[in-house]
């Protein structure tokens, strides 16, 4: 079984009921293909970096799941068809995962940069970036 992670964005004007329906739908898709959902995390509304379908915010969901290799195509097919879903991405996390040992580890928190750490080293700004005329012979 492989471990995948799919993030998708649901249109922000869906009701809680709809969110629940979507949850159940994807649970069904995964278990129906002999998969297993490890985590289904609704991350809530976030501001989008760019507008999608004229929405400025979206409801983000992270789904961590195990399954055979053909499961992704099915999950993505369902994401594509559902009009309430604005965008998605699937990443493979691991091959050959043993489901039992995974339950023990659960979801490992991965350390990422905290705000204080990040403050130490701001990158140098690339000079000459303003407007046009970028890198006009400055290397």
């Amino acid at each position: 079984m492989r471990r995948y992670e799919t993030i998708f964005i649901i249109t922000p004007d869906s009701s809680d009921d709809e969110l629940k329906t979507i949850y159940e739908k994807f649970q069904g898709v995964v278990t129906g293909r002999k998969g297993q959902i490890l985590a289904y995390e609704e991350q809530g509304k976030k501001k989008l970096a760019y507008d999608i379908k004229r929405h400025g915010k979206g409801h983000y969901v992270l789904m961590d799941y195990l399954g055979p290799s053909d499961i992704v195509a099915e999950v993505e097919r369902n994401l594509r068809l559902d009009e309430r879903i604005l965008a998605y991405i699937t990443v493979k996390l691991a091959d050959k995962v043993d489901p039992e040992s995974l339950k023990a580890k659960a979801a490992e928190p991965r350390r990422t940069v905290k705000e204080e750490d990040a403050g130490e080293e701001a990158p140098p700004f690339v000079a000459g970036e303003r407007g046009s005329g970028e890198e006009a012979g400055q290397g």
Binding site: Y88, T112, P124, F125
Partner: protein, 81 residues
């Protein structure tokens, strides 16, 4: 004009941030980290400026591109003139 020698030493000879601290992971889900590696326009900062090693630069690039797909990072943002 004959060839001019551009003797501009890029200061970032330092060690790659991620090599130095092995606990830092690069995640496409983490715009707080990634935003330090893009310009104001949203472009990915080249390695000779960011100081990353080849491997981590590739990981950053991949992470930024993925984050762009789910609107966690912009593809482009306009600068005021």
């Amino acid at each position: 004009m004959a060839t001019k020698r551009r003797r501009r030493a890029f200061p970032r000879r330092k060690v790659c941030r991620f090599c130095a601290d092995s606990a830092l992971t690069i995640e496409y889900k983490d715009p707080k980290l990634l935003k330090y590696f893009i310009t104001e326009r949203g472009k990915i900062i080249p390695r000779r400026i960011s100081g990353n090693c080849a491997r981590h630069q590739r990981e950053i690039t991949l992470a930024v591109k993925r984050a762009r797909q789910i609107a966690l990072m912009p593809y482009t943002s306009t600068l005021p003139h």
